[in-house]
Symmetry: C2
Subunit: 222 residues, 2 copies
Protein backbone atom coordinates (compact mmCIF):
# COMPACT_ATOMS: atom_id res chain seq x y z
CA UNK A 1 0.00 0.00 0.00
CA UNK A 2 2.44 2.67 -1.03
CA UNK A 3 0.35 5.78 -1.53
CA UNK A 4 1.35 9.47 -1.35
CA UNK A 5 0.40 9.36 2.31
CA UNK A 6 3.08 6.83 3.04
CA UNK A 7 2.07 3.90 5.12
CA UNK A 8 4.51 1.15 6.03
CA UNK A 9 3.10 -2.35 6.31
CA UNK A 10 4.67 -5.29 8.03
CA UNK A 11 3.38 -8.84 8.06
CA UNK A 12 1.18 -10.14 10.85
CA UNK A 13 3.62 -12.72 12.25
CA UNK A 14 5.34 -9.74 13.80
CA UNK A 15 2.75 -8.91 16.44
CA UNK A 16 -0.14 -10.33 18.44
CA UNK A 17 -2.30 -7.28 17.79
CA UNK A 18 -1.41 -4.75 15.12
CA UNK A 19 0.05 -1.68 16.86
CA UNK A 20 -0.97 0.37 13.84
CA UNK A 21 -4.63 -0.30 14.55
CA UNK A 22 -5.09 1.64 17.78
CA UNK A 23 -3.99 4.66 19.77
CA UNK A 24 -2.40 2.47 22.42
CA UNK A 25 -0.54 0.52 19.75
CA UNK A 26 0.92 3.71 18.35
CA UNK A 27 1.95 4.91 21.80
CA UNK A 28 3.69 1.57 22.32
CA UNK A 29 5.73 2.06 19.14
CA UNK A 30 6.53 5.74 19.72
CA UNK A 31 7.33 5.11 23.38
CA UNK A 32 9.47 2.06 22.78
CA UNK A 33 11.63 3.84 20.22
CA UNK A 34 12.17 6.63 22.75
CA UNK A 35 12.87 4.33 25.64
CA UNK A 36 15.12 1.81 23.88
CA UNK A 37 17.16 4.76 22.68
CA UNK A 38 17.40 6.12 26.21
CA UNK A 39 18.09 2.94 28.15
CA UNK A 40 19.51 0.52 25.60
CA UNK A 41 17.73 -2.72 24.84
CA UNK A 42 18.98 -4.64 27.90
CA UNK A 43 17.59 -2.17 30.43
CA UNK A 44 14.40 -1.59 28.48
CA UNK A 45 11.39 -3.44 29.94
CA UNK A 46 7.65 -3.53 29.27
CA UNK A 47 7.11 -2.35 32.85
CA UNK A 48 9.11 0.83 32.23
CA UNK A 49 7.46 1.32 28.85
CA UNK A 50 4.07 1.00 30.53
CA UNK A 51 4.98 3.72 33.02
CA UNK A 52 6.27 5.93 30.20
CA UNK A 53 3.11 5.70 28.12
CA UNK A 54 0.72 5.49 31.08
CA UNK A 55 -0.57 2.01 30.47
CA UNK A 56 -0.10 -1.24 32.39
CA UNK A 57 2.49 -3.66 31.09
CA UNK A 58 -0.20 -6.33 30.72
CA UNK A 59 -1.73 -4.21 27.95
CA UNK A 60 1.57 -4.13 26.07
CA UNK A 61 1.73 -7.92 26.25
CA UNK A 62 -1.48 -7.96 24.22
CA UNK A 63 0.46 -6.43 21.30
CA UNK A 64 3.80 -8.20 21.55
CA UNK A 65 4.88 -11.53 23.02
CA UNK A 66 7.92 -9.99 24.65
CA UNK A 67 10.48 -7.28 24.18
CA UNK A 68 12.43 -9.29 21.65
CA UNK A 69 9.27 -9.57 19.55
CA UNK A 70 8.89 -5.81 19.72
CA UNK A 71 12.49 -5.33 18.58
CA UNK A 72 11.89 -7.68 15.64
CA UNK A 73 8.83 -5.63 14.74
CA UNK A 74 10.82 -2.39 14.79
CA UNK A 75 13.57 -3.91 12.68
CA UNK A 76 11.06 -5.24 10.14
CA UNK A 77 9.31 -1.87 10.04
CA UNK A 78 12.65 -0.20 9.40
CA UNK A 79 13.52 -2.48 6.48
CA UNK A 80 10.06 -2.07 5.05
CA UNK A 81 10.64 1.67 5.18
CA UNK A 82 14.11 1.35 3.63
CA UNK A 83 12.57 -0.73 0.85
CA UNK A 84 10.16 2.11 0.20
CA UNK A 85 13.02 4.61 0.10
CA UNK A 86 14.93 2.31 -2.23
CA UNK A 87 12.03 1.98 -4.65
CA UNK A 88 11.69 5.74 -4.66
CA UNK A 89 15.43 6.36 -5.14
CA UNK A 90 15.76 4.19 -8.23
CA UNK A 91 12.48 4.92 -10.03
CA UNK A 92 13.06 6.08 -13.59
CA UNK A 93 16.81 5.44 -13.38
CA UNK A 94 17.84 2.98 -16.06
CA UNK A 95 21.64 2.98 -16.01
CA UNK A 96 22.58 0.04 -13.74
CA UNK A 97 25.62 1.73 -12.22
CA UNK A 98 23.70 4.87 -11.34
CA UNK A 99 20.91 2.74 -9.91
CA UNK A 100 23.41 0.87 -7.77
CA UNK A 101 25.07 4.05 -6.60
CA UNK A 102 21.74 5.45 -5.45
CA UNK A 103 20.77 2.21 -3.77
CA UNK A 104 24.06 2.07 -1.86
CA UNK A 105 23.49 5.63 -0.71
CA UNK A 106 20.15 4.68 0.77
CA UNK A 107 21.80 1.79 2.61
CA UNK A 108 24.94 3.44 3.95
CA UNK A 109 24.13 7.11 4.45
CA UNK A 110 22.96 8.05 7.95
CA UNK A 111 19.29 8.92 8.38
CA UNK A 112 19.44 12.59 9.26
CA UNK A 113 16.07 13.90 8.19
CA UNK A 114 13.12 12.95 10.31
CA UNK A 115 10.51 11.94 7.79
CA UNK A 116 8.08 11.34 10.63
CA UNK A 117 5.82 8.99 8.86
CA UNK A 118 2.95 8.58 11.29
CA UNK A 119 4.12 7.94 14.81
CA UNK A 120 7.66 6.73 14.03
CA UNK A 121 10.76 8.85 14.48
CA UNK A 122 12.87 7.34 11.72
CA UNK A 123 16.12 9.01 12.72
CA UNK A 124 15.87 7.61 16.21
CA UNK A 125 14.77 4.25 14.87
CA UNK A 126 17.81 4.10 12.59
CA UNK A 127 20.02 4.62 15.64
CA UNK A 128 18.32 1.71 17.33
CA UNK A 129 18.94 -0.38 14.23
CA UNK A 130 22.65 0.45 14.37
CA UNK A 131 23.01 -0.28 18.07
CA UNK A 132 20.54 -3.06 18.70
CA UNK A 133 19.37 -4.78 15.53
CA UNK A 134 21.90 -7.63 15.75
CA UNK A 135 20.12 -8.67 18.94
CA UNK A 136 16.93 -9.24 16.97
CA UNK A 137 18.36 -12.27 15.18
CA UNK A 138 21.23 -13.43 17.40
CA UNK A 139 18.92 -15.54 19.56
CA UNK A 140 18.01 -19.17 20.09
CA UNK A 141 14.63 -18.58 18.40
CA UNK A 142 16.08 -17.24 15.14
CA UNK A 143 15.25 -20.34 13.06
CA UNK A 144 11.61 -20.51 14.15
CA UNK A 145 11.17 -16.80 13.62
CA UNK A 146 12.81 -16.99 10.24
CA UNK A 147 10.42 -19.79 9.24
CA UNK A 148 7.51 -17.57 10.25
CA UNK A 149 8.84 -14.83 7.98
CA UNK A 150 9.93 -12.36 10.65
CA UNK A 151 13.00 -11.33 8.65
CA UNK A 152 11.52 -11.22 5.16
CA UNK A 153 11.57 -7.42 4.99
CA UNK A 154 15.33 -7.40 5.46
CA UNK A 155 15.77 -10.25 3.02
CA UNK A 156 13.70 -8.42 0.49
CA UNK A 157 15.91 -5.34 0.64
CA UNK A 158 18.98 -7.53 0.18
CA UNK A 159 17.37 -9.23 -2.80
CA UNK A 160 16.35 -5.96 -4.40
CA UNK A 161 19.88 -4.58 -4.26
CA UNK A 162 21.40 -7.92 -5.28
CA UNK A 163 19.34 -7.76 -8.45
CA UNK A 164 20.80 -4.36 -9.28
CA UNK A 165 24.28 -5.78 -8.68
CA UNK A 166 23.56 -8.51 -11.20
CA UNK A 167 22.53 -5.85 -13.70
CA UNK A 168 25.93 -4.22 -13.23
CA UNK A 169 27.84 -7.49 -13.33
CA UNK A 170 25.74 -10.54 -14.34
CA UNK A 171 28.51 -13.02 -13.59
CA UNK A 172 29.20 -11.89 -10.05
CA UNK A 173 28.85 -14.88 -7.76
CA UNK A 174 28.18 -13.33 -4.37
CA UNK A 175 25.61 -10.55 -4.69
CA UNK A 176 23.72 -11.26 -1.45
CA UNK A 177 26.94 -11.61 0.48
CA UNK A 178 28.17 -8.29 -0.87
CA UNK A 179 24.96 -6.46 -0.02
CA UNK A 180 24.62 -7.81 3.51
CA UNK A 181 28.32 -7.17 4.12
CA UNK A 182 27.85 -3.55 3.15
CA UNK A 183 24.67 -3.02 5.13
CA UNK A 184 25.96 -4.64 8.31
CA UNK A 185 29.42 -3.20 7.81
CA UNK A 186 28.16 0.37 7.50
CA UNK A 187 26.08 -0.01 10.67
CA UNK A 188 28.93 -1.57 12.57
CA UNK A 189 31.42 1.09 11.48
CA UNK A 190 29.07 3.84 12.65
CA UNK A 191 28.85 2.10 15.98
CA UNK A 192 32.63 1.71 16.14
CA UNK A 193 33.13 5.38 15.25
CA UNK A 194 31.11 6.30 18.35
CA UNK A 195 32.38 3.69 20.78
CA UNK A 196 35.44 1.82 19.52
CA UNK A 197 37.21 4.27 17.20
CA UNK A 198 40.38 2.15 17.08
CA UNK A 199 38.45 -0.32 14.94
CA UNK A 200 37.67 2.20 12.22
CA UNK A 201 39.03 5.25 10.39
CA UNK A 202 37.00 8.35 10.98
CA UNK A 203 37.83 11.53 9.10
CA UNK A 204 36.89 15.06 10.03
CA UNK A 205 34.16 16.73 7.93
CA UNK A 206 33.90 13.85 5.56
CA UNK A 207 31.80 10.70 5.43
CA UNK A 208 34.51 8.05 5.39
CA UNK A 209 32.05 5.21 5.93
CA UNK A 210 29.88 6.06 2.95
CA UNK A 211 32.94 6.58 0.75
CA UNK A 212 34.61 3.40 1.84
CA UNK A 213 31.66 1.14 1.08
CA UNK A 214 30.73 2.82 -2.18
CA UNK A 215 34.31 2.51 -3.39
CA UNK A 216 34.48 -1.05 -2.18
CA UNK A 217 31.40 -2.27 -3.99
CA UNK A 218 32.49 -0.87 -7.35
CA UNK A 219 35.99 -2.26 -7.01
CA UNK A 220 34.66 -5.68 -6.11
CA UNK A 221 32.31 -5.66 -9.10
CA UNK A 222 34.89 -4.31 -11.56
Amino acid sequence: MKSPKVHIDVSKELFLRNPDSSELGKRIITGSIDLINELGFELFTFKKLGERIGSPESSIYRYFENKNGLLIYLVAWYWSWVDYKLAFAITNITAPKEKLKRAIDVLVQPVLVDYSILHVNETMLSEIIIKESVKAYHTKEVDDQNKKGCFSQYKYVVKRVSDIILEVNPTFEYPHMLVSTIIEGAHQQRYFADHLPALTNVKQNHDAIGDFYTEMIFKVLA
Copy 2:
Protein backbone atom coordinates in the same frame (compact mmCIF):
# COMPACT_ATOMS: atom_id res chain seq x y z
CA MET B 1 54.52 -15.00 27.59
CA LYS B 2 54.43 -17.00 24.39
CA SER B 3 56.43 -20.14 25.08
CA PRO B 4 56.27 -23.57 23.39
CA LYS B 5 53.73 -24.56 26.03
CA VAL B 6 51.30 -21.92 24.81
CA HIS B 7 49.72 -19.81 27.45
CA ILE B 8 47.27 -17.06 26.59
CA ASP B 9 47.29 -14.00 28.81
CA VAL B 10 44.59 -11.41 29.13
CA SER B 11 44.75 -8.21 31.14
CA LYS B 12 43.47 -8.03 34.68
CA GLU B 13 40.61 -5.58 34.03
CA LEU B 14 38.81 -8.57 32.60
CA PHE B 15 38.15 -10.42 35.84
CA LEU B 16 37.84 -10.01 39.60
CA ARG B 17 39.99 -13.06 40.28
CA ASN B 18 42.07 -14.66 37.54
CA PRO B 19 40.26 -17.82 36.40
CA ASP B 20 43.60 -19.15 35.20
CA SER B 21 44.91 -19.25 38.76
CA SER B 22 42.75 -22.00 40.24
CA GLU B 23 40.93 -25.24 39.51
CA LEU B 24 37.56 -23.60 40.08
CA GLY B 25 38.50 -20.78 37.74
CA LYS B 26 39.32 -23.23 34.98
CA ARG B 27 36.08 -25.12 35.51
CA ILE B 28 34.24 -21.80 35.21
CA ILE B 29 35.84 -21.16 31.82
CA THR B 30 35.47 -24.69 30.47
CA GLY B 31 31.91 -24.94 31.79
CA SER B 32 30.81 -21.54 30.53
CA ILE B 33 32.03 -22.27 26.99
CA ASP B 34 30.04 -25.51 27.07
CA LEU B 35 26.93 -23.96 28.51
CA ILE B 36 26.82 -20.77 26.44
CA ASN B 37 27.13 -22.98 23.38
CA GLU B 38 24.28 -25.16 24.59
CA LEU B 39 21.85 -22.52 25.79
CA GLY B 40 22.85 -19.36 23.99
CA PHE B 41 23.97 -16.32 25.93
CA GLU B 42 20.48 -15.11 26.91
CA LEU B 43 19.48 -18.32 28.68
CA PHE B 44 22.91 -18.84 30.21
CA THR B 45 23.06 -17.89 33.91
CA PHE B 46 25.62 -18.18 36.70
CA LYS B 47 23.11 -20.33 38.60
CA LYS B 48 23.00 -22.90 35.81
CA LEU B 49 26.77 -22.71 35.38
CA GLY B 50 27.16 -23.36 39.09
CA GLU B 51 24.99 -26.47 38.85
CA ARG B 52 26.94 -27.66 35.82
CA ILE B 53 30.34 -27.36 37.48
CA GLY B 54 29.15 -28.30 40.96
CA SER B 55 29.83 -25.00 42.67
CA PRO B 56 27.54 -22.32 44.06
CA GLU B 57 26.88 -19.28 41.92
CA SER B 58 28.26 -17.03 44.66
CA SER B 59 31.68 -18.57 44.02
CA ILE B 60 31.48 -17.65 40.34
CA TYR B 61 30.72 -14.06 41.27
CA ARG B 62 34.13 -13.94 42.92
CA TYR B 63 35.71 -14.38 39.49
CA PHE B 64 33.45 -12.26 37.31
CA GLU B 65 31.17 -9.32 38.01
CA ASN B 66 28.38 -10.77 35.90
CA LYS B 67 27.77 -12.86 32.83
CA ASN B 68 28.54 -10.00 30.48
CA GLY B 69 31.93 -9.66 32.14
CA LEU B 70 32.55 -13.33 31.54
CA LEU B 71 31.61 -12.97 27.87
CA ILE B 72 34.02 -10.04 27.52
CA TYR B 73 36.72 -12.21 29.08
CA LEU B 74 36.06 -15.04 26.61
CA VAL B 75 36.11 -12.63 23.68
CA ALA B 76 39.39 -11.07 24.86
CA TRP B 77 40.90 -14.51 25.38
CA TYR B 78 39.86 -15.45 21.85
CA TRP B 79 41.50 -12.38 20.28
CA SER B 80 44.60 -12.91 22.33
CA TRP B 81 44.72 -16.44 20.95
CA VAL B 82 44.09 -15.21 17.38
CA ASP B 83 46.91 -12.73 17.82
CA TYR B 84 49.18 -15.63 18.77
CA LYS B 85 48.07 -17.58 15.69
CA LEU B 86 48.65 -14.48 13.55
CA ALA B 87 52.16 -13.96 14.86
CA PHE B 88 52.90 -17.61 14.15
CA ALA B 89 51.38 -17.53 10.65
CA ILE B 90 53.46 -14.60 9.42
CA THR B 91 56.84 -15.31 11.07
CA ASN B 92 59.65 -15.42 8.52
CA ILE B 93 57.36 -14.30 5.69
CA THR B 94 58.69 -11.10 4.16
CA ALA B 95 56.58 -10.59 1.03
CA PRO B 96 53.76 -8.23 2.14
CA LYS B 97 51.11 -9.79 -0.08
CA GLU B 98 51.87 -13.28 1.14
CA LYS B 99 51.86 -12.03 4.70
CA LEU B 100 48.47 -10.43 4.18
CA LYS B 101 47.07 -13.52 2.54
CA ARG B 102 48.12 -15.65 5.51
CA ALA B 103 46.77 -13.14 8.00
CA ILE B 104 43.39 -13.02 6.24
CA ASP B 105 43.25 -16.79 6.33
CA VAL B 106 43.67 -16.78 10.10
CA LEU B 107 40.85 -14.25 10.39
CA VAL B 108 38.27 -15.71 8.02
CA GLN B 109 38.83 -19.47 7.98
CA PRO B 110 36.70 -21.45 10.43
CA VAL B 111 38.45 -22.92 13.46
CA LEU B 112 38.13 -26.66 12.79
CA VAL B 113 41.05 -28.12 14.74
CA ASP B 114 40.73 -28.20 18.47
CA TYR B 115 44.08 -26.97 19.67
CA SER B 116 42.94 -27.49 23.25
CA ILE B 117 45.33 -25.11 24.87
CA LEU B 118 44.79 -25.73 28.56
CA HIS B 119 41.15 -25.87 29.47
CA VAL B 120 39.74 -24.01 26.48
CA ASN B 121 37.98 -25.69 23.57
CA GLU B 122 38.91 -23.22 20.85
CA THR B 123 36.57 -24.60 18.20
CA MET B 124 33.59 -24.21 20.51
CA LEU B 125 34.82 -20.82 21.63
CA SER B 126 35.06 -19.64 18.03
CA GLU B 127 31.42 -20.61 17.56
CA ILE B 128 30.50 -18.52 20.57
CA ILE B 129 32.44 -15.62 19.07
CA ILE B 130 30.45 -15.92 15.84
CA LYS B 131 27.07 -16.14 17.56
CA GLU B 132 27.49 -14.00 20.65
CA SER B 133 30.50 -11.70 20.51
CA VAL B 134 28.55 -8.68 19.25
CA LYS B 135 26.70 -8.76 22.59
CA ALA B 136 29.98 -8.17 24.40
CA TYR B 137 30.26 -4.61 23.12
CA HIS B 138 26.69 -3.67 22.15
CA THR B 139 25.84 -2.55 25.67
CA LYS B 140 25.36 0.65 27.66
CA GLU B 141 28.69 0.02 29.46
CA VAL B 142 30.80 -0.19 26.29
CA ASP B 143 32.53 3.19 26.77
CA ASP B 144 33.56 2.52 30.37
CA GLN B 145 34.77 -0.93 29.51
CA ASN B 146 36.67 0.37 26.52
CA LYS B 147 38.38 2.96 28.73
CA LYS B 148 39.44 0.15 31.07
CA GLY B 149 41.01 -1.69 28.14
CA CYS B 150 38.55 -4.56 27.89
CA PHE B 151 38.70 -4.58 24.10
CA SER B 152 42.40 -3.99 23.57
CA GLN B 153 43.07 -7.57 22.45
CA TYR B 154 40.64 -7.16 19.57
CA LYS B 155 42.02 -3.73 18.72
CA TYR B 156 45.51 -5.13 18.72
CA VAL B 157 44.63 -7.79 16.16
CA VAL B 158 43.04 -5.13 13.96
CA LYS B 159 46.14 -2.98 14.27
CA ARG B 160 48.49 -5.82 13.48
CA VAL B 161 46.67 -6.67 10.25
CA SER B 162 46.21 -2.98 9.37
CA ASP B 163 49.98 -2.62 9.46
CA ILE B 164 50.36 -5.43 6.95
CA ILE B 165 47.79 -3.73 4.75
CA LEU B 166 49.90 -0.57 4.81
CA GLU B 167 52.91 -2.62 3.73
CA VAL B 168 50.93 -3.79 0.72
CA ASN B 169 49.51 -0.37 -0.05
CA PRO B 170 51.03 2.50 1.99
CA THR B 171 48.54 5.09 0.71
CA PHE B 172 45.40 3.18 1.59
CA GLU B 173 43.25 5.38 3.79
CA TYR B 174 41.02 2.93 5.62
CA PRO B 175 43.08 -0.01 6.86
CA HIS B 176 41.31 -0.44 10.23
CA MET B 177 37.93 -0.15 8.59
CA LEU B 178 38.85 -2.78 6.02
CA VAL B 179 40.14 -5.22 8.63
CA SER B 180 37.20 -4.90 11.00
CA THR B 181 34.79 -5.13 8.07
CA ILE B 182 36.36 -8.41 7.04
CA ILE B 183 36.51 -9.90 10.51
CA GLU B 184 32.96 -9.00 11.44
CA GLY B 185 31.71 -9.74 7.93
CA ALA B 186 33.16 -13.24 7.90
CA HIS B 187 31.60 -14.01 11.29
CA GLN B 188 28.27 -12.60 10.27
CA GLN B 189 28.21 -14.50 6.97
CA ARG B 190 28.92 -17.77 8.78
CA TYR B 191 26.01 -17.01 11.06
CA PHE B 192 23.78 -16.13 8.11
CA ALA B 193 24.78 -19.32 6.29
CA ASP B 194 23.44 -21.30 9.26
CA HIS B 195 20.36 -19.27 10.09
CA LEU B 196 19.46 -16.72 7.41
CA PRO B 197 20.80 -18.18 4.16
CA ALA B 198 18.88 -15.69 2.03
CA LEU B 199 21.34 -13.04 3.21
CA THR B 200 24.40 -14.85 1.88
CA ASN B 201 25.61 -17.08 -0.96
CA VAL B 202 26.66 -20.49 0.20
CA LYS B 203 28.23 -22.92 -2.23
CA GLN B 204 28.47 -26.67 -1.91
CA ASN B 205 31.92 -28.12 -1.12
CA HIS B 206 33.61 -24.77 -1.34
CA ASP B 207 34.42 -22.05 1.16
CA ALA B 208 32.61 -19.10 -0.41
CA ILE B 209 33.07 -16.90 2.63
CA GLY B 210 36.85 -17.25 2.75
CA ASP B 211 37.09 -16.72 -1.01
CA PHE B 212 34.83 -13.73 -1.03
CA TYR B 213 36.72 -11.80 1.62
CA THR B 214 40.17 -12.69 0.35
CA GLU B 215 39.20 -11.55 -3.13
CA MET B 216 37.59 -8.44 -1.74
CA ILE B 217 40.59 -7.26 0.24
CA PHE B 218 42.99 -7.54 -2.69
CA LYS B 219 40.61 -5.80 -5.07
CA VAL B 220 40.09 -2.97 -2.62
CA LEU B 221 43.84 -2.55 -2.16
CA ALA B 222 44.67 -2.83 -5.87
